[in-house]
């Protein structure tokens, strides 16, 4: 479903990804592991079609993702509907004046009917355990609540692929446990889950696979999650634990 071949990306003259080759199939759950600045967020931006590889190719469901392809409005809409990105900082992801509009934004853009939008919003809120927040202003919420609203806004689009960028950051233990269970539920529902992390305490049992990035922006190991996480010597050497 997601097929990256020798993807290289640089910000100005600063390399962020260097020849990344990996394949992710529908229903897989993959952890992206690596020290700060190794390129995890950049890879997620490539996968969600926000930036395009300088070199190498990215094929999603048989279609090569290029700037030209994404300019086609109907394609880019359906592509963005299939990939949901939960940003690291929910402050940048929430832009509407109320939680209701925030969550309704995606479904509205997809042109769903008003009734459908309403039921999706209330279902997403309930799923995230924040029913009754409809009229609140997103920027007045606490960090954990903002995160839940950001996830609910992504869920409302019902994407096939979920991308979480360091989702456990700045969450309290209860929210972490909640999010862990939510990611497990997603994989059981057959969704693809891609999640960058360097905090392993609340994610046991979520992932099948781990992709490890090095400080020089390469993919150095792509393996079974358990075997990577138990290889303490390797992780220590890569500055991950």
């Amino acid at each position: 479903m997601i097929d990256l071949k020798k993807v290289t990306y640089s910000y100005a003259d600063h390399t962020a990804l260097s020849e990344i080759t990996m394949k992710i199939e529908q229903g897989e759950s993959v952890a992206l592991i690596g020290p700060n600045g190794s390129g995890k967020s950049t890879l997620m931006k490539v996968i969600s079609g926000l930036i395009y590889p300088d070199r190498g190719t990215y094929v999603f469901d048989g279609t090569k993702i290029t700037e030209k392809q994404m300019k086609e409005a109907s394609f880019s809409k359906s592509f963005h509907k299939q990939t949901g990105f939960v940003f690291q900082n929910p402050d940048t992801q929430l832009f509407c004046g109320s939680v209701y509009e925030e969550i309704a934004f995606g479904p509205n853009q997809m042109g769903l009917s008003e009734n459908e939008v309403r039921s999706r919003v209330s279902d997403s809120l309930e799923l995230m355990g924040i029913s009754g927040f409809e009229e609140r202003e997103p920027y007045h919420l606490s960090g954990g609540e903002k995160k839940r609203v950001a996830i609910a806004a992504t869920v409302a689009l019902n994407p096939d692929v979920y991308l979480f960028d360091e989702p456990m950051n700045a969450l309290d233990p209860k929210s972490k446990r909640f999010l862990r269970q939510f990611m497990i539920d997603l994989t059981q529902a057959g969704k693809t889950v891609i999640c960058s992390t360097h905090d392993f305490s609340y994610v046991d049992g979520v992932f099948q696979r781990a992709a490890v990035f090095s400080e020089d922006h390469r993919l150095i190991r792509d393996d079974d999650y358990e075997s990577v996480i138990n290889d303490r010597a390797f992780l220590r050497e890569q500055n991950i634990i």
């Binding site: 931006k45 969600s48 926000l50 409005a73 880019s76 809409k77 963005h80 509907k81 990939t83 949901g84 990105f85 940003f87 900082n89 402050d91 940048t92 992801q93 929430l94 832009f95 509407c96 004046g97 109320s98 509009e101 309704a104 934004f105 995606g106 509205n108 853009q109 997809m110 008003e114 939008v117 609140r136 202003e137 997103p138 920027y139 007045h140 806004a153 992504t154 689009l157 220590r236 500055n239």
Partner: protein, 268 residues
């Protein structure tokens, strides 16, 4: 990160304290201002009273009609009628809103009275009282709207005046940024305060740093924000849906405005 480091000597013993300088007051003042700004924006979303139930668009429309009638009227009877209604309305408001509206409107009225005093003393008494009461009413009604409606609802109500949806979204985002950046700046001032333990000649120097960080932060955030919008299928069009069920307060509000409008023509 794992290597053991030698801890320098000066870290092991307590420092002597420095004298408090002028800079502290400068930082203190900024913290105070920001804090009040944030508190004012936040408090708005918590003020609830019976007037909050009226649909924001209807409230905005009513305000425009009432201001129009008040400023056009030359009849003391009409203005007194509106004035009595206003007093009645204020008397049933929650105390905190009542206090703020009275302070706002009376300040404006007294200011107007003082400004017009010379004319009054010279002997032009014609509409002296009328004008002062009109100012008091105008400010009170505007205060009622602003204090009982959230910023967001007020912005959404602009839709009634054919303001484009995308513009409404931009206003919403602006408001969000004001809150987030004030919060961010406040925290930077706190950090500055914690680190300002001695005397410095240039008291405003760190502000340039704060402004610079803020600028970078805002650039980063606006890029991310656009990405977030694209991710959720944004393609340049945006429609807000402000539909809500009719509340009996809406009826009450309409009847109130209609009655005043009729009395305007009756007392003309």
């Amino acid at each position: 990160m794992n290597e053991k480091k030698n801890i320098p000597q000066w870290l092991m013993k307590p420092d002597e304290l420095f004298e408090v300088g002028k800079k502290e007051r400068f930082i203190e003042k900024n913290i105070h201002t920001l804090f009040k700004l944030l508190a004012a924006i936040r408090s708005r979303s918590n003020d609830h009273c019976f007037l909050s139930r009226i649909h924001p668009a209807l409230k905005l429309f009513s305000l425009v009609v009432l201001l129009f009638l008040i400023s056009l009227s030359r009849s003391m009877v009409f203005i007194s009628t509106v004035g009595s209604c206003m007093l009645l309305l204020i008397s049933i408001l929650p105390v905190n809103i009542m206090k703020r509206i009275l302070i706002m409107s009376l300040t404006a009225a007294v200011f107007m009275a003082v400004t017009l005093l010379p004319a009054f003393l010279v002997g032009i008494h014609g509409h002296y009282l009328l004008i002062v009461v009109k100012v008091w009413l105008t400010v009170s009604f505007s205060g009622l709207l602003v204090l009982t409606t959230s910023w967001h609802a007020l912005i959404a109500a602009l839709k009634l005046f054919r303001v484009p949806d995308l513009f409404i979204l931009i206003l919403d985002i602006t408001l969000k940024y004001i809150v987030i950046f004030s919060d961010f700046t406040l925290n930077m001032f706190y950090a500055l305060k914690l680190r300002s333990v001695g005397k410095t000649a240039k008291k405003a120097a760190p502000v340039a740093g704060i402004a610079g960080t803020l600028f970078l932060k805002s650039k980063e955030m606006s890029e991310d924000l656009y990405d977030a919008m694209v991710c959720r299928g944004f393609s340049g069009h945006y429609t807000t849906q402000v539909k809500r069920q009719w509340h009996w307060m809406d009826t009450a509000c309409s009847v109130f405005v209609l009655a005043l409008a009729l009395s305007f023509f009756y007392f003309r």
